[in-house]
């Protein structure tokens, strides 16, 4: 035998294993079992969940690009108006369709409006719409989806039926028709936000419903029921926080689809109406002269692409950071 046998009588006194010390720092986690299972309290500093997610998030290149990019775009939207030499409603009679210059950074369009000022204003509008719609959608989706699953039977069936019905309604046409009627009023943006939200919560609600269905059978929800905790409290306290990671991810992606929806509508002239402007309206206006005077089209389009890319990068990185099984755990 080449090796001391497991069982051989009188095996050599071979010391078992070297007690090499792992170059480890910080608190404890054991991959062999569930992280929570391995931890004994009262030793080492503990990362809070938020810090942990942030660390995993920051590890990905996409996350970094997304955060920095979005911060820059946000900065542009906030300080842009005070930076600009022109207001977006002011016509420069000396410069019609002039290319970018020191005076007009992004050039002007046919009407003599400053493209930079208009892009910033459009960006502001688009971002307001995007984030508002995404927020309303998540709230609606969480409440309706969770209720549909939690109450089951009749309530669930009705909510499910409404959800499915709204899914098959051609929302684009309806929004287009209604927003035509509100054209020119000061509330066209708000109207658009409400309309876009009303027709985009369904898929998220269905996902939330499916997630809730698996949560409802979990013991802590059953335990709460057996402890006479009211249903609404159970939903708000136990169900929704546990689908929050999905809601957060869905929010970032919802921003993208809301902005896209808004720009598409505005592009065709159905969304944000003049005198208000948005990136979509600008694109629609600039489309005709995209080949002859590209700056009219390129700058709003570029800002839109950067905005959407950054939010999308963030969403992807966030999903990986929250998902414990993803590969964002670093290397040994």
């Amino acid at each position: 035998m080449t090796e001391p046998n497991f069982s051989a009588a009188g095996a050599t006194n071979r010391p078992e294993g070297s007690t090499s010390t792992a170059p480890a720092t910080g608190p404890q986690l054991d991959p062999d079992l569930d992280p929570a299972e391995a931890e004994a309290p009262a030793s080492g500093k503990r990362l809070s969940r938020n810090r942990l997610i942030w660390r995993r998030f920051w590890r990905s290149t996409g996350g970094k690009i997304g955060v920095i990019g979005l911060a820059l775009v946000l900065l542009l939207a906030i300080v842009g108006p005070s930076l600009a030499r022109w207001d977006y409603w002011v016509v420069d009679d000396n410069a019609f369709l002039s290319p970018p210059s020191a005076d007009h950074w992004f050039g002007t369009n046919q009407g003599g409006f400053d493209i930079f000022a208009m892009t910033v204003e459009g960006l502001r509008k688009s971002m307001v719409i995007g984030f508002m719609v995404a927020a309303i959608v998540e709230i609606l989706a969480a409440l309706i989806g969770a209720s549909a699953a939690y109450f089951g039977k009749r309530v669930g069936a009705i909510l499910q039926w409404i959800t499915d019905l709204l899914l098959v309604i051609p929302s684009f046409l309806i929004i287009a028709i209604i927003s035509q009627h509100t054209a020119g009023s000061r509330n066209s943006t708000w109207m658009l936000i409400i309309l876009l939200s009303a027709f985009s919560w369904m898929i998220s609600a269905r996902v939330i419903r499916a997630m809730t269905l698996s949560l409802v059978s979990l013991d802590y929800v059953t335990a709460a029921k057996f402890m006479s905790v009211p249903s609404f409290v159970v939903i708000v306290k136990h169900v929704i926080p546990n689908v929050a990671s999905y809601l957060i991810i869905d929010f970032t992606l919802g921003v993208v689809s809301a902005i896209l929806g808004e720009t598409t509508l505005s592009f065709f002239g159905f969304g944000v109406q003049k005198p208000e402007t948005s990136l979509g309206t600008l694109l629609g206006d600039g489309m005709g002269s995209a080949t002859t005077s590209p700056w009219v089209f390129l700058f709003p389009a570029g800002v839109l692409v950067i905005l959407l890319l950054c939010v999308n990068f963030m969403g992807d990185a966030l999903r990986d950071a929250i998902d414990p099984s993803s590969k964002s755990g670093g290397a040994a």
Binding site: G17, P23, T25, E37, Y220
Partner: protein, 704 residues
């Protein structure tokens, strides 16, 4: 292993059996994993040798590194794992080989039986196709030959009617049958080494007995070396030739199976054995839990990793980690510097005793107050068919006329295999709704007559502790909010909630200062204590315990069982204890009810039922429990049941057990007709009032 130091191998030939060379040699194996908090050193210098035809039991609690060790042998570790050391199969190094090469070795030379037979089979292919695939990848079989061999293998592992069953899909097999198929695939190519990773943990005890039997057969057929990974010392006692006990990523003791059980030379092994409830002995004193939790494998302090939990630890233990050295016994190694002072001491002499006050002597059982009375409880589920127009094609009798009662201060154990209706029974009781048939009376109040507000009041007296401590605590809430929840919604004075939570935490042995921590900061045993504290918040009279310790490690389980025992005595609680682990039931319960297919087949005081079971099902169930005592375990006569649990949608006529009943086989025609024709009712047996059995031909048998 990084790409730079990739070793060069002389030949790509697969390892072959060589005389005098062990099948498997693991030397100084170290495995490290990256994690958010640093590097986890999961396996720290493991040495292990397995010879042909030998069964080596690798025992340890979760996180001790046993599965990681086996996965390194199979080459199935995650890419980011860092593996060092040497793993040799027939003297050929396996570490650092390409995955293609390892694929050849896996299945042909080394086979693995996984814990979960459901996920080990592909649901979209038939069983036969999957075995044929395993055969054809590694051997030169024609389609027809492979199919014939697959049938032969299925027959070998005891699948009846293999010609038909081979064309079935995995979902058409029961858990036990699936595990048989997995074993058939494992032995398909006549491997030299079989690694069985908790092969029976997911199975019921009677099925476990069948599968362990089958593993013995498989091992004999292939003359392979077997590494048996398990946490169940009873399984090891019956199957293994040698045992290696792992703790914190190292082997702390290894020896012949008898030496490990009777002459332990490591305090951890002694503690494990001491904290194990025995199915064959009456409970006379509390278990001796091993205090504390296993250490984290991240940033392990110097010294013996077991020292913080060891009752014998002293200064020298903390100086350096002890090596695995020879002890006074031949072939027996231990990683404890004080093994000499351990020589054959009983665990009671080493581990401190927990004193549990004796229950106040009460009168006879008949005098005690009835806490829960269940009479003829029935719960059925409709069996629907059709997708558009659903029609009822049958009824599942999940619970079929069950009657029992629980008196004050008493623990009733409800045992049976999965699918026998234990959970449905307790859920029907906990719902406090009017049952389909029969009566449920809680503290003198019939649930059929409760109004909504009455129900809320009764709920306070009837609380539940769930099986999985992970799932029963909301991970997003701190412990304080979890324990305060029942108080908040049941009209407890707001001002006193904080002090009550503190009181409850102290009661279950948790540090009240930890109230702001989240569940994930607690170990499994501590989480279960939180669950118990929450259930006790409203001072219930009856606690329903749904497998409260089955998710816990043995050394932790003992502490929770002791806590439950102490609480029962101190607070005058009654327990309805549901479990599939009969050893635990023997330890904690006063009375036991054995369920089969929705019916109670035997009911009586726990000692009498365990020592002299009268119903043939109780007998086979009890005989299937592995006893952590090698000599006793190997000498026992198992009553192996044939086949699986019949579907409760279509139960056999007459006595539901007659299809599998060993007693039925020995009866003559007339008696058999009685079994198949007439359903036996629960009736007093042996002239005792509180001992009932549902069998036409009861006969007391000793199974331990």
């Amino acid at each position: 292993m990084s790409k730079k130091d990739k070793p060069v191998f002389e030949s790509d030939a697969l390892p072959e059996r060589q005389p005098g060379v062990p099948v498997l040699q693991i030397a100084d194996l170290n495995v490290r994993f990256p994690s958010e908090d640093g590097v986890v050193h999961a396996v720290r210098g493991v040495n292990l040798t397995v010879n042909a035809g030998e069964v080596v039991g690798l025992v340890g609690e979760s996180g001790s590194g046993k599965s990681v060790t086996s996965m390194s042998v199979m080459g199935l570790l995650d890419e980011n794992a860092h593996v060092e050391g040497s793993i040799k199969l027939h003297g050929t190094e396996l570490l650092g080989r390409s995955d293609d090469w390892m694929s050849e070795v896996r299945g042909k030379k080394v086979a693995m039986v996984f814990q979960d037979p459901l996920s080990a089979l592909t649901p979209v292919y038939t069983i036969g196709d999957q075995i044929v695939e395993a055969l054809q990848i590694h051997g030169k079989y024609s389609d027809a030959e492979a199919w014939d061999r697959a049938l032969e293998l299925l027959r070998m592992v005891g699948i009846p009617n293999p010609e038909v069953r081979a064309k079935n899909f995995p979902h058409e097999f029961s858990g036990g049958m699936r595990q048989r198929v997995v074993i058939a695939m494992a032995i398909a190519n006549d491997p030299d080494l079989i690694i069985a990773d908790e092969p029976t943990t997911a199975l019921d005890v009677t099925i476990q007995a069948q599968i362990l039997d089958l593993l013995r057969v498989a091992q004999r057929e292939t003359h392979a070396g077997v590494v048996m990974i398990t946490h169940d010392l009873g399984v090891v006692a019956g199957l293994a030739d040698r045992v290696a006990v792992m703790y914190a990523g190292r082997i702390v003791e290894r020896a012949d199976v008898n030496d490990v059980f009777y002459h332990s030379r490591h305090p951890y092994t002694v503690g494990l054995l001491g904290s194990l409830p025995r199915p064959d002995l009456d409970k006379d004193e509390p278990l001796t839990p091993v205090e504390g939790n296993p250490p984290s494998l991240l940033n392990l302090p110097p010294g013996c990793p077991f020292a913080p939990r060891c009752p014998m630890a002293s200064e020298e233990c903390l100086a350096a980690e002890p090596d695995l050295l020879e002890t006074d016994l031949a072939g027996h190694t231990s990683a404890c510097i004080k093994f000499a002072s351990l020589s054959d001491k009983k665990y009671e002499e080493i581990y401190p005793h927990e004193e549990i006050p004796a229950a106040a002597e009460q009168g006879t059982r008949e005098d005690a107050e009835v806490i829960l009375h269940v009479d003829g409880l029935v719960k059925t589920y409709p069996l629907m068919k059709g997708s558009v127009f659903k029609r009822r094609v049958g009824t599942v009798h999940a619970v079929d006329h069950i009657s029992f009662d629980i008196r004050a201060g008493e623990t009733l154990g409800l045992v049976g295999e999965s699918g026998c209706g234990k959970t449905t029974t307790i859920m029907s009781i906990l719902e406090l709704a009017k049952p389909e048939e029969g009566r449920v009376v809680v503290l003198g109040k019939d649930t059929a007559e409760l109004s909504k507000s009455d129900r809320k009041l009764v709920r306070q007296d009837l609380q539940v502790v769930f099986q999985d401590p992970m799932a029963s605590l909301d991970p997003r809430l701190p412990i304080y909010d979890i324990i305060a929840e029942p108080l908040k919604y049941n009209g407890y004075p707001k001002a006193r909630i904080a002090s009550r939570v503190e009181e409850l935490m102290a009661l279950v042995g948790l540090e009240p200062a930890h109230a702001n921590r989240y569940p994930r900061n607690f170990s499994g045993g501590q989480k279960q204590r939180v669950g118990i504290a929450r259930a006790l918040a409203l001072e219930p009279r009856l606690l329903v315990l749904d497998e409260p310790v089955s998710a816990l490690d043995v050394s932790i389980q003992a502490g929770v069982l002791n806590l439950l025992e102490r609480l029962r005595v101190e607070m005058g609680l009654s327990y309805l204890f549901v479990a599939h682990d009969l050893s635990v039931v023997r330890h904690i319960a006063h009375r036991v009810a054995v369920m089969y297919l929705g019916r109670i087949v035997e009911l009586g005081p726990v000692g009498e039922v365990f020592d002299h079971p009268e119903h043939p099902y109780s007998q086979s169930l009890l005989s299937a429990i592995p006893v952590p005592d090698p000599v006793k375990e190997r000498a026992r006569n198992r009553i192996l049941l044939q086949g699986d649990l019949p579907s409760p949608a279509n139960p056999p006529s007459g006595c539901p057990f007659h299809t599998r009943c060993p007693k039925f086989q020995t009866l003559d025609e007339a008696d058999r007709a009685r079994c198949t024709g007439e359903t036996p009712l629960l009736a007093s047996a042996g002239g005792q009032v509180d001992r009932q059995v549902a069998c036409h031909f009861p006969e007391g048998v000793s199974v331990f």
